[in-house]
């Protein structure tokens, strides 16, 4: 958690001067079930990447590299949108 500004330090209009500061907020703690990605089954169609509401499917050079558990809320959309014949993501109870 970064330091809150005092009244003399707060920019005019209460502007937030740290873009993306929400990333300090690790929403992964909300998760009840976790998506587990199988690299061998994955065909890198990127459907999970485009539909994940929490930007929690990591990619590198147009390929999936895994799940970002810091922010993944465990909604299960990635597992649902993975093509029927592939099903490379399964939801498992959080320990």
């Amino acid at each position: 958690m970064f330091k809150l500004k005092n009244w003399k330090e707060v920019p005019i209009g209460g502007a937030v001067d740290q873009p993306g500061s929400a990333m300090e907020n690790k929403t992964g703690s909300w998760r009840v079930e976790r998506p587990v990605w199988n690299s061998e089954k994955c065909i890198h169609c990127l459907r999970c990447w485009v539909y994940c509401p929490d930007m929690s499917v990591n990619t590198l050079d147009g390929k999936i590299t895994g799940i970002n558990y810091d922010y993944c809320k465990g909604c299960g959309i990635c597992a649902q949108v993975c093509p029927e014949k592939v099903k490379a993501i399964t939801m498992q109870p959080e320990q």
Binding site: M23, P53, G62, I77
Partner: protein, 314 residues
Amino acid sequence: MANLKELSKRPDGFSPGHRLCAGCGIPIIPKLLYKVTDYDIVVASATGCFEVATTIYPYTSWLKPFVHSAFENAAATISGVEAMYQSLKKQGKIPANRKLKFVAFGGDGGTYDIGLQSLSGALERGHDIVYICYDNGAYMNTGIQRSSATPYGASTTTSPAGKVIPGKMQRRKDLTNIALAHHIEYAAQTAVSHWNDLATKLQKGLDIDGPAFICVMSPCVPGWMYPSDQSIEVTRMAVETGYWPLFEMDHGVFRVNYRPKQKLPVADWLKLQGRFRHLFRPEYTYVIEEIQRQVDDYWEYLAHMEQAFPAPPK
């Protein structure tokens, strides 16, 4: 439209760590918005889930400029920002070749209802803006109150299904057609379940000079009452059953962008959601029949629009 591989490599404009519900459809829109264009974008948002959950002080999910707005005036706020940009350019304080784009977001409550007047004003004045309404069919952030976008027959806290009424007894307002009655060059309806249609329409809206309006169906887990992993499927079914057609008016040409191969009965979409559960009681069959009639009627209207505004002969 670039493919997903290319889109995934482009820079992000919207970060994780936001407090929207698990499975909320809204973030898919800003994720794609920043990916489809090289323009620098300034966003304003009306209050509602999106604004509240992405900008809890001192946190923000926005990696690019974002301006807060009240509930009723996101379109007026973004108009002012755009007008200031034009003025500063004229005064030489912003280089003439510095191209910025201006986008306003509002929920259906903030757009169909309370923000309609400021939206209409902005469209009529002709600002170079894109207004995006994320339509989840109710005032979700304050606990699911009906709006003029709520579907006929849906149960909400202010149109509760019970012994007296079977949910909301008024038909949804056709906002995209209201927007295009302002003679704007681009107005479209799309859904988060169809990323290519959504991304293409966002890009078209940004590319034109002048006002554009895009209405995006966005699923809401607590408001529609379905399991969170079904968000995309429920939205896709709204399109497949014809409840939510994907269409656009593009420079005077009206197009239905997607025709389901086999239009499924609207009941197939209704039955996926708790907000319509009561309609499956025998005494309310007539409500489902009425919703089907409305869907069929609307497709006839769309066919007339296509005939009235055809593509010019090649």
